[in-house]
Symmetry: C2
Subunit: 317 residues, 2 copies
Amino acid sequence: MKCRVCRGQAVIDIRRHNAAFCREHFFEHVQSQVKRSIKTFGMLAPDDKILVAVSGGKDSLALWDILLSLDYKADGLYIGLGIGEYSNFSQEKAEVFATSRGAHLHVVNMKDSYGYDIPQGAVSARRAPCGTCGLSKRYVMNQQACKAGYEVIATGHNLDDEVATLFGNVLHWNLDALSRQRPVLPTEHGFVKKIKPLVRLGEREMAAYCVLRGIDYIVEECPMSEGNTGIRYKEALNEIENASPGTKHQFFFGFLDRGLDHFSEQAGVSAPELKSCSNCGASTTGEICAFCRLRQMATDPERVTVGSPSFRPRRRH
Amino acid sequence: MKCRVCRGQAVIDIRRHNAAFCREHFFEHVQSQVKRSIKTFGMLAPDDKILVAVSGGKDSLALWDILLSLDYKADGLYIGLGIGEYSNFSQEKAEVFATSRGAHLHVVNMKDSYGYDIPQGAVSARRAPCGTCGLSKRYVMNQQACKAGYEVIATGHNLDDEVATLFGNVLHWNLDALSRQRPVLPTEHGFVKKIKPLVRLGEREMAAYCVLRGIDYIVEECPMSEGNTGIRYKEALNEIENASPGTKHQFFFGFLDRGLDHFSEQAGVSAPELKSCSNCGASTTGEICAFCRLRQMATDPERVTVGSPSFRPRRRH
């Protein structure tokens, strides 16, 4: 297995590109894929102040590393979810990385700052942990970015993540979610711009990147994610990808090229009307935003006035 | 496991319906699902002359049996594909069934009537066998139906088949195919109306139906279908269905309810302009229709004038 660029000994092959790379040219490949996404989708201006959502896992640490190596102004945000040792270890990984790069890491603890943690929130809201977690993180990221004056939030969603989400949205013909499944969501309605610079890179490449760059990340899956449908979709799609490398890429970028337009407002998928949350002021479709309802249920269940426990909030990001 | 209807001993459970049935009420269930499809999608008028495409497999024989038991005027068409013993056995199954029901079966042999068989056609056209077979069968079915004055062609595509096709069309964002993935295609442009009355029934139910009705069908997969992507898609979707029964149904009928309209002509997916094949007169997008090109390549390669060997014809049905 020889490097596509220098014909030296390769350390990784990427079947969907029909290519292998040595260490040095793999880093170049990863950087060039990120640069290509940033350019194609207009993700960043050179001086943007970026807040990277850092979980301590491979994707977010690799993303932060790549953005720093491309000379972007990128700080990190770690959100303490209160998932026992898993949270402790992942926070440590994020902090060690930040220190090693001399980079600034914001740390927000859900319980301290918002009065609940994920295990408790999920039980109180009678909602799946992954849904509770996603809703909480999206809100907190946006609030922290606004507060600290960041222009862009960058998340580590890779090609496998996006493909699994797209598959789920298609399986359920969730038109609203399909209309918003883009690698960039602009600044609007009080939401900070959000970008996914890793959409051209797979899970396996991100793990290899971390290993080869000496980035120590939390390898374990979150202990609360058992039975998560996204993981199941990834397994099903991996089998298809193994037999036909490139299917995932084709599925996702084919969607952006040819599918997405069919779920736009012009195609009759109308965005719901937004109001201001009567509690926190965030844009929402209801009286009280989904996050405030969740938080009320988790911290002060007797005060909950609006919405059923099984509410399905509209997810913007 | 008790029958949902009579609480007697059940012989089959259907997880996506959260129901089990005894023999008698399973037959009722199957019939009612077919009746519901026929009614919902306007598939048949009571006096329609129907030609059932019969392969000798479980789906087509079950379909023929159900249509006869619902008192429709349904004859069968068996197409001899020339796939060695597999074809001999499947023809025998179709003939035995027809005799047992006193029903009329047309038999057309590809080699005798069109000058080539599937193994030879696939090699000559340098095309996958399943593609060669599908193209040939669609053409021959339509031609035979026109010739013998049938108003409707009925095929045994079940829910699993339709879901696998939909999945493939979505994976590749094949907008043209998505715009035509409906359980009924009307009579137009010289094509006979085509219906799929089994779309509400799964593969496993059709096998059970045949076993319980004493219908002897060919159990083996076609020996040329190895590596067929449809089979791979079915396996991937089966894993998801096992974990979340009902996902397939939701995917397909959700598409018909909410997705399909987004791939209509109004949504900008325009049907290509049709001309008449200069050889046989059938509607086609090119000078010579895909079937005639295939046939020329298979029977008289030196006469082939139009189209590359790897042509991808537009599939109407």
